[in-house]
Every structure is written in C-alpha cells, then in structure tokens.
C-alpha cells in the first residue's frame, strides 16, 4: 500500500545523484544530464552560495556595507542576544509561523476534502479558491488594511463590540491575528492544490472496501483519508512553516511592524541592516536565522522520512 501513496514530489534537489544502480548507462548520455544541471549550478553558486558565504564572513566584522571595516569577533552575535528588538522579532515570527501553519493546513485540508467530493460546480469553485494565490502579497495586504481599519470598525460599532470598534491593527494584542488571517488567505490556495493532488491519488477501491466493511463517512475520513495523505500534510507543514518564517510583505502592508514593535518579523529586522547601514550586525542575525531554519528543516525532514517508511 505504501507504494500507492505516491511519494511527495518535493525533493527536487540540485544534487540529483546519478543513480549507481544502473552502471550500463553510456557516458555520453550522462554528460547530457550534467549539462542540464550546470547552468543552474553556476547561477546558484554565484547568486546564492557565494554571497551567503561572503555575508557570513562579514557578520564577524563591523562593516556597514562598504568602506573600511575590521574584525570584531563575536560581538555582533553577543549584541544580538541582548537586543530586545531582535528577541521580540524571533518570538513573534515563530509564534506567528506556528499559528499560521495550523490555520492554513486545517482550512486547506477541509476545503480539499470538500472540493474532491462529488459536488456540483467543482471546477468553478476550485478556480475561485485559487484566485488569492495570483494576487501579490503587498496588494492583498493594503486591501485588507483598508478592511481592518475602516470596514471592520464600522461593523464593530454597529454590533456594539468594544474590541472591534477600533482597528485591530492598532491593538498590540490583536494585530498579529490580522496578519495570520491575511497570510492564511493568501497561502491556503497553494496548500489546497497539494491536498487536492494528494486526495485524487487515493484509489477509489479503498473507500469501496471501507464501505463494505461498514465504515461511516467520518471514520473513512479519519482512518483512510488522513493516513493516506499524511505525506502531503508533512510537505505542506514544512513548506508552509518555512514560507511563514520569511513573512515580510504582508506585514509591511498591514502594520509595518507595529503597533510599537509587536509584529516585527525577523526578515523585517534583517532588511533594516541594509537600509539602515547596520550590515554586519544584521548579517549575524541572518546567519543565525539561516542556521535555525536549516535545523528545523532537517528535523522535519527526518520526521517525514520516518513517516513515509511506514
């Protein structure tokens, strides 16, 4: 059965090992494969790997991005840990990413189950649900900004709600909810598509068998559907989590990190390093952030492997 769950299509890694299992491939053919990889590899090295290494190097200096600089050792890293603005941004970003991942996956999964069931106007509905994916984040954010600051308070005043009658974007305790809502609105479609693909890959006969055994719809969902798309759930959680850690445009459009510093994300603090001439320091921050994301990804990947092997 594990074979039919169609292994998740995620690992399109650049390393794509030339399989050792088939030694009879002629070298000429293999050369073509390398030729396919080479352009990407060169660009990846020049545009990503090399700058990243240079960035890490500069995180041990006091450079402001140009001009003279000198080595300062670990000072940037030490200063970082005592910087309330940075600590705050880590707390916010991880809390926000966790929350959004849960919200997005629950909504997308339920929608996917609905949209793969035998219902009318399925195609039309699918199209509608995917629309948010095509709109740019910053535009979505500005539209929602208007809704949150004007429409929602009007509604709140009409129903006499104290909390809702002023903009939740101006409320330090609630502003993050607005960001979760907008991010989820934008991220659900992508997640939804992966779930639909996963659900369509489940053969119909397992449900028939379940029906014969007398399993109800609810039991079928929990006992058959969920385990069979488990791989997709993991993929969505990993990809989603990584994307949400990089939250930037939606926040800039909604709160710009405010009220106060309540919703400043890690990428937002890193960007100030370039615009504000704090290059080396924010490079240290970026390095730290990178390491954390890599570690989390590795842990999640391990968990996924364990899951798929079952």
């Amino acid at each position: 059965m594990t074979k039919t769950t169609a292994a998740p299509p995620a690992r399109t890694s650049h390393a794509a090992r030339p399989s050792t299992a088939r030694p009879r491939r002629r070298p000429g053919v293999e050369g073509i494969y390398y030729a396919f990889l080479l352009p990407s590899l060169i660009i990846f090295t020049l545009a990503i790997t090399l700058p990243a290494l240079i960035g890490i190097f500069f995180s041990f200096t006091n450079s402001i991005g140009f001009g003279e600089w000198e080595f300062v050792g670990l000072i940037n890293y030490i200063a970082m840990f005592s910087d309330p603005a940075i600590v705050q941004s880590y707390l916010f970003t991880f809390g926000f990413a966790t929350c959004t991942v849960i919200v997005v996956n629950i909504i997308a999964f339920l929608l996917a189950v609905g949209l793969t069931a035998k219902i009318k106007v399925k195609t039309g509905l699918r199209t509608i649900f995917v629309i948010p994916m095509v709109v740019s984040g910053i535009i979505i954010a500005y539209v929602f900004n208007f809704l949150f600051s004007n429409s929602l308070p009007t509604f709140g005043q009409a129903v006499g709600s104290e909390t809702l009658s002023s903009s939740i974007l101006a409320n330090p305790d609630l502003a993050w909810i607005a960001i979760v809502i907008v991010t989820a609105w934008q991220a659900v479609p992508g997640t939804l598509l992966i779930y639909i693909a996963g659900l369509l890959a489940i053969p119909g006969d397992v449900y028939e068998a379940a029906d014969l055994d007398g399993a109800g719809k609810w039991q079928q969902l929990l006992r058959i559907t969920v385990p069979l798309v488990a791989g997709y759930i993991f993929i969505n959680v990993i990809l989603g989590f990584k994307n949400f850690l990089n939250a930037y445009d939606v926040i800039v459009g909604l709160t710009d990190g405010g009220p106060g510093t309540a919703t400043r994300s890690i990428p937002m603090t890193i960007v100030t390093g370039f615009t504000g001439g704090d290059y080396a320091y924010q490079m240290a921050n970026a390095t730290m952030f990178f390491i954390i994301v890599v570690v989390i990804s590795l842990i999640q990947l391990r968990l996924t492997r364990g899951r798929n092997a079952r």
């Binding site: 545009a47 140009f66 600051s149 903009s167 991220a187 106060g260 510093t261 080396a280």
Partner: protein, 421 residues
C-alpha cells in the same frame, strides 16, 4: 504550489543578471558619443521639473549627456564602486555614512559652495563630517511645523499660540467648541516620529547638542549617564503623550497619513503635525482651504520657538564617479539662482543660498522669520539610525505605552549600536 523559498531568489538573480548584461551593453553603445553623466534623483515630485532641465541642458551643449537615474539602489552602487556621477536627493543619516567614509568628493573649490548659507551648511555637518572637505551642497530645505486651519482659528477667535500655556488654552477652547485640536494618524509610525515627537522634542531640547553628547558617550549611554533619551527626553515625550491623549481624534490609532490628509482637508481638525509635503495632498481635496503654519510652542518663552527643517535635496559627486568634470558642470547649471528659485517656489522649499528669493507662499510664510534667523533644528527622529526601530517605539508611546520604558529601550539600542560599530 508554494515554491521552495530558495528557488525564487535564484530565478530573480538569473533575470537580474540578464538585465544587467543588457544595460551594460546599452551603456557600451553610447560610449562613443559625449561623456555620460548619470544623475541620481529619486524624489518623485521633482522628476518632471528636472527632466525638463536635463533636456534643456543636453540640447545646449555637446560635451556631456546627462541621464536621469531615479531607481537604482544607491547602497549597492557605492558597494560595487559604481555610484551615480551626481546625486541630488534627501540628505539624512544614511547618506551621511557615505560621506563620513570619504565616498563623496570635495566641492569646496566650486563657486556654488561659497553661496550656501553657513547655517544651512552647518545642518549637513550635524550628521557627519569628513576632514577638509565640503562634499555636500544643500539645494532645498523643507521647513515643517504645525499646519493650522486658519478658517477654524478665525471662526473661534483664536490667535496663533506663542507659549505652551497659550497652546493649551487654544486646545481647550477648540475642545469646548467640539472641534478636534490635532488630527493624529498613528497607524503610520513615521507620522508620530516626524510630527509629534520631532516637534515636542525640538521645541524643548537643543537637538544637535543632545546628539553630540550621545555620540561622545557611545556605549556609556544608559541609566547612569548624564545625558540619555530617558533623562533628557522624558519631559518633552511625556508632554507629547499628554497632548495626544487629550487633544487628538479618538480614532487616531487606526488612521493613516492618507486618512489624515483627507480629514484635515475636510476641516475635521484645527491642527495637523505634518510637513509641507502634505499641502499638495490636502489641496487635492480642498484646493482653496486657507492654511498656515506655526512652530509648536513648548516653553513659556516665545524666544524659544523653533521650526523643524530637513535638507530635502542636496547635491554631491562621488569620488568613484568616472565623469566628475561633467557632473560639476551640470551641478553648476542646476545651482543657477533662477533654477533653484523656481524649484523651491514650486515645491514649497526654502532657499539654501545667500541670494535665494524669499518664500512667498502664505502656507509656509509663518515659518519665514524663524528660518531667516536660523531658529531651526533637524528632526531628532532623523538622527537615530534606521536600524533602531524608533518610530515603532514612539508609536507605542502614542498609543499609551510607557514613556520611560520606550526611552530606556532607545538608550539600550543606542549603546548596543555604539558597541558594534
């Protein structure tokens, strides 16, 4: 499907590379003709005016071809050793960093440097200096203070306040009449920083002196130091919070700059803490609204009144420029008196030279006497490096947060920055 985060930058980099190659090729194509001067100007409102000047200049001679560059990233340009040949833009802390490290060439031998008002040139030096050089020539200064609705003031029989007491009296009278004294737009953190914070602090504290002290204290700034945000600014920032609490619209926390311009244009408040850039926006709704400006009084002495200024445009020529001579010639062209005067009149700016025409627009006339006697300061929020989220802290204060803790956070950030740079 959400793309893996590392692939998007890769695609971007690839297309960027193509673009760069294309532009490099385009650059080669032109190299046979006259010397090219890349002129960096990013202020959107100024572009049409300078575009006209550029075509006029290019038509008038064959030696130099000026090309407008309004979009390239300055920091990256300096980093790659490929900055524009001539810059004319807002002068602030971030630009000062380039100058401080010697990236801008000396212009002190140019006749234009002689014409700059010494007190305006001094504004440049407040951010940073480079020994033996005059590398930045101010072109236009924006003066900002309280914008007030003259019609409301007249209808209520109110005079422009000269002391803090009179200000409170005016606010109380307006409140009694059911008029909002100040229109606040606190959803945009910068409006708190450049408006309420700058005006209250600038009206009370010697801004340049304060930052000089902070700079020399460096890592020592904190609860123990003689001068600090927490000690020196506690009073004005406390006043700021009081004014906000008592005299702004109740929905200010959820209003943005755009909302503010609209509401003020409709006469929904009597005073508005914004710079002259807001006049154009207000005029879109109410072109004939009778507006004036006055410095926010923070003390009992009218002698203390000061207006906030910023160097809206300043010219500089990078050391790394390949066409310094061409850039200098074009700079001289731009610094002709009538060219400067026309720009300043259109953009509500104040002239920076000894021979500049006096301002005449009634909306900014209220600040003339202070500008003429150099009773001005550069916004204290502008002297805090952008890496410190000061505007966000101040937004927190405007929304009722603790003044002391916000200011001590600023102290901590300042000391940490001094430690690592």
């Amino acid at each position: 499907m959400p793309r893996s985060p590392r692939r998007a930058p890769r695609a971007l980099a690839a297309s960027l590379g193509l673009l760069l190659t294309a532009s490099a090729l385009a650059g080669c194509a032109g190299s046979g003709g006259p010397e090219t001067v890349r002129f960096h100007l990013s202020k959107p409102e100024a572009i049409p005016y300078f575009n006209e000047l550029i075509s006029e200049y290019n038509a008038s001679q064959d030696g130099v071809e000026v090309v407008l560059d309004s979009s390239s990233n300055l920091q990256a340009g300096f980093l790659r050793g490929n900055p524009p040949d001539l810059g004319l833009l807002n002068y602030n802390m971030e630009m000062a960093r380039f100058m401080e490290r010697g990236a801008l060439s000396d212009l002190s031998d140019m006749p234009e440097a002689e014409r700059i008002l010494p007190e305006v040139q001094e504004l440049v030096d407040q951010y940073a200096t480079y020994p033996g050089r005059t590398s930045v020539l101010p072109y236009s200064v924006m003066a900002a203070s309280v914008i007030y609705n003259k019609e409301i003031f007249e209808a209520q029989g109110l005079e422009v306040p000269q002391t803090y007491e009179e200000l409170i009296a005016v606010c109380d009278a307006l409140t009694t009449a059911g008029i909002t004294p100040f229109y606040g737009t606190f959803q945009d953190p910068w409006t708190v920083a450049q408006g309420f914070f700058d005006y209250t602090v600038g009206g009370d504290v010697d801004v340049a002196g304060f930052y000089d002290e902070l700079d020399s204290l460096g890592t020592e700034v904190g609860p123990e130091s003689e001068v600090s945000f927490e000690k020196t600014l506690a009073e004005p920032v406390g006043t700021m919070q009081e004014l906000i609490e008592k005299y702004t619209n109740s929905d200010a926390p959820s209003k943005t700059y755009g909302d503010g311009n609209l509401a003020f244009a409709r006469g929904e408040a009597a005073m508005y803490l914004q710079g002259p850039w807001a006049f154009g926006e207000i005029a879109k709704t109410s072109p004939d609204l009778d507006l004036g400006t006055f410095p926010l009084p923070m003390t009992d002495d009218p002698e203390d009144l000061r207006v906030r200024v910023n160097i809206d445009l300043a010219a500089w020529i990078p050391e790394a420029s390949g066409s310094k001579e061409g850039a200098r010639e074009f700079l001289s062209f731009l610094f002709q008196q009538d060219v400067m005067d026309e720009y300043n009149a259109a953009q509500l700016g104040y002239g920076t030279t000894v021979d500049a025409a006096p301002v005449t627009d009634p909306r900014i006339l209220g600040m003339k006497e202070y500008y003429d006697t150099a009773d001005f300061y550069q916004g204290p929020s502008q002297a805090i490096p952008q890496t410190i989220p000061a505007a966000n802290y101040l937004q927190g204060v405007a929304l009722g947060g603790d003044v002391e803790s916000a200011l001590s956070t600023l102290d901590g950030d300042w000391a940490r920055l001094a430690l690592r740079q």
